[in-house]
Subunit: 299 residues, 2 copies
């Protein structure tokens, strides 16, 4: 079994992104990321800080905005609209989850589609859903949700073929399961979307050449879910008494999978890297600089 | 094998819709459909006429707009924007395909999301993709593409269970395959999306409790694609030397399927019926009349 080293790939991509950001500065393109944190959730604090640090490391400007737990929807949406207009901001990251009294859908959809670096607005998801082929998604410079995009890059970097393969995605969230299913299909995989109401999950999962676990259940995927030699992508990030673990029972699965992402160090590091990718992409899309249309962010 | 009689269900639903349209008039809600036909395509003429006639039969106003083959994109988009503002128009139907020199994506997306009775704008598809459950789609009064919506109603009217079943959808178009996959999943089916790049289609199809053929290949689905007793939905509408036929080899499949839609007389009649449904729904959504939020279009 070969480990898919998300940390290594992520570092390589960040090096590439850093060079790209420098190259773009010379052309007059200056990507910048605005981060918004509402309230005091400790995990959210940690995530936002990691995103700000990632910007610094890549030479991308970041602008942090902190609102109190008590902030109202109008206050938040006013801030988002101000950032939508701000030319130094190419991407807006609204850290989720929001305090319960705020309507997350309405707040997320206040973000201009051009600056939607999380790819979670109705407009971004609609475009993703409308485009048929990976090539179209790339050439439209579409802002795609970061975790699913990271999974696609992991597969591509490891030379794991997607076209004509059967991918089974466990989990149907808007953040991961659904957009990843569409991305896998746009790469010509046959895709089965399975979820909490699926019967015979092991039998369905065992058909997969590429099995994605994104259901948020600690060590749910066992060896009997896995076809010998299959690629297993673990999007889970759970905490149990033994510490951090994924949705896959790593030890159990290791003897049968062909390729597998560990937790931590698999999909996780890719998410922020793809946020950086999307921030640069958004900067490029919004740039008034000429002759930037054909520039690709990643080789 | 039991035939799923789309003509009969469609007639029943139209009777219900007619009563609903009359009931709504009393409440001050007056749905109206604007149809736009560009050019001289004979099949498109026939389709648009059927839609106008369906409106008449239900007591719904229709407004037909015909543009010459030579019409430019600006002219068409100007018309759409005028109709977006027109309060007597609740739905706008832009008959596809458009002449090639027009960018269909841009023209379709000029339609206001509130009046998008075909459910094909990026906004409508994004909302469909974002909502998780059939109940949310219904209560949001979402405008869903007509053919997929018709398939769901056929299944429901025949009491064919969707939740927990395995649906296999052959074809990944924006018009049918992709939205139908999402609708089936929102009804808690496990869904496999298969297409031209899928290997072993018969083997994949044979897993289906509900098999949908939407690939545009005459009589492609044979008995070896079908699990005994499965429900087979044929969205195809092809013409070969023997006349009109679907994507399913009806005679071959009849001996093994449990339920099956014929062609013609299966899914076909449902499409225009669902357009009528969406027109009334759009009228209801746009109505300034009070206390209409809880009204359901179909029982």
């Amino acid at each position: 079994m070969q480990i898919i080293d998300g940390k290594k790939i992520s570092d390589e991509i960040r090096t590439e992104l850093k060079a790209k950001a420098e190259e773009l500065k010379v052309k007059g393109v200056h990507p910048g990321l605005a981060t918004i944190l509402v309230g005091e959730d400790p995990a959210s604090h940690v995530y936002v800080n990691s995103k700000i640090k990632a910007c610094e490391a890549l030479g991308i400007k970041s602008f942090h905005h902190k609102l109190p737990e008590t902030a109202g929807e109008t206050e938040l949406i006013d801030l988002i609209e101000k950032l939508n207009q701000d030319k130094s901001v190419s991407g807006i990251l609204l850290q989720l989850p929001l305090p319960r009294k705020l309507n997350a859908d309405r707040c997320v959809n206040a973000i201009s589609p051009d600056k939607d670096v999380d790819g979670l607005t109705v407009n971004s998801l609609g475009k993703l859903f409308s485009l048929k082929k990976w090539g179209e998604i790339e050439s439209a410079k579409l802002l795609v949700p970061c975790t699913p995009l990271g999974v696609i890059y992991l597969l591509k970097k490891y030379g794991i073929e997607i076209a004509g393969k059967h991918a089974v995605v466990l989990g149907r969230s808007n953040l991961v399961g659904k957009p990843l299913s569409i991305l896998l299909m746009s790469n010509d995989a046959t895709v089965t979307m399975a979820h909490s109401q699926t019967k015979n999950i092991p039998e369905i999962a065992r058909q997969a050449d590429i099995l994605v676990a994104a259901i948020g259940k600690s060590r749910f995927v066992k060896k009997e879910f896995i076809k010998p030699g299959a690629t297993v992508i673990d999007v889970g990030m759970n905490r149990d008494r033994d510490g951090l673990c994924g949705d896959v029972d790593f030890k159990d699965a290791a003897g049968i999978a062909g390729f597998m992402t560990p937790v931590p160090g698999g999909v996780g590091p890719m998410t922020i890297t793809m946020l950086m990718h999307n921030t640069i992409l958004a900067g490029l899309k919004q740039s008034p600089a000429k002759n930037t249309e054909a520039i690709r962010i990643l080789s």
